[in-house]
Symmetry: C2
Subunit: 114 residues, 2 copies
């Protein structure tokens, strides 16, 4: 069993996602964005933190593909992107949770027999 057997991308997408999620501030920002898009300023105002710090967190979230930004005039609007989040969490859960294996094997077997 070599090191690639464990299917995880070192500096890759999953790493960036999990790293982004390791901060409570960033998880709160994501939750805060779950209802609607907001500007950087609105987000900063919500949290007891300097604007540059919030900006830094937003960059981390964006690099992880968890949010997207759109500049409209003077403002930058941030929107949550749930796709990558859900795929990453789900992918990891599948990888780690033996519970799902029987069904997975069943499905793979079925696919082959076609």
């Amino acid at each position: 069993m070599n090191d690639d057997t464990l299917n995880q991308d070192a500096g890759g997408s999953a790493q960036r996602v999990f790293n982004a999620l390791s901060s409570l501030h960033r998880r709160k920002i994501l939750a805060y964005l779950s209802a609607s898009s907001l500007t950087a300023g609105e987000i900063a105002e919500r949290f007891n933190m300097s604007k540059p710090s919030v900006s830094q967190h937003l960059t981390v979230l964006e690099n992880a593909g968890l949010i997207a930004k759109e500049k409209r005039g003077q403002f930058v609007h941030y929107t949550i992107v749930t796709n990558n989040l859900i795929n990453t969490l789900n992918g990891f859960a599948q990888e780690v949770c033996p519970v799902s294996r029987p069904l997975k094997r069943e499905s793979e077997a079925k696919a082959k027999s076609k």
Copy 2:
């Protein structure tokens, strides 16, 4: 909206779980444990790292409630505990993913009307 509105435990369970998952090494260890329990030595041998380092990672995972240890004679056997992992990932996905809200509201409404 005060700061408790965002339902996340600061130094609590979710924080420890997400923090544990932020390390590729630790995610690999979890994946490696997904098939069967292993001793600390077997885990250390699998990864290109000193035993004390692995031991440290195992402690982090254990404090997050993601693995459990059992001493049998000279050996310490580690086992994955999927419960806390799945609950935490799922709980966060629910909190952040607006997609699930309509169904959630529907279900809540139904519960109230009983």
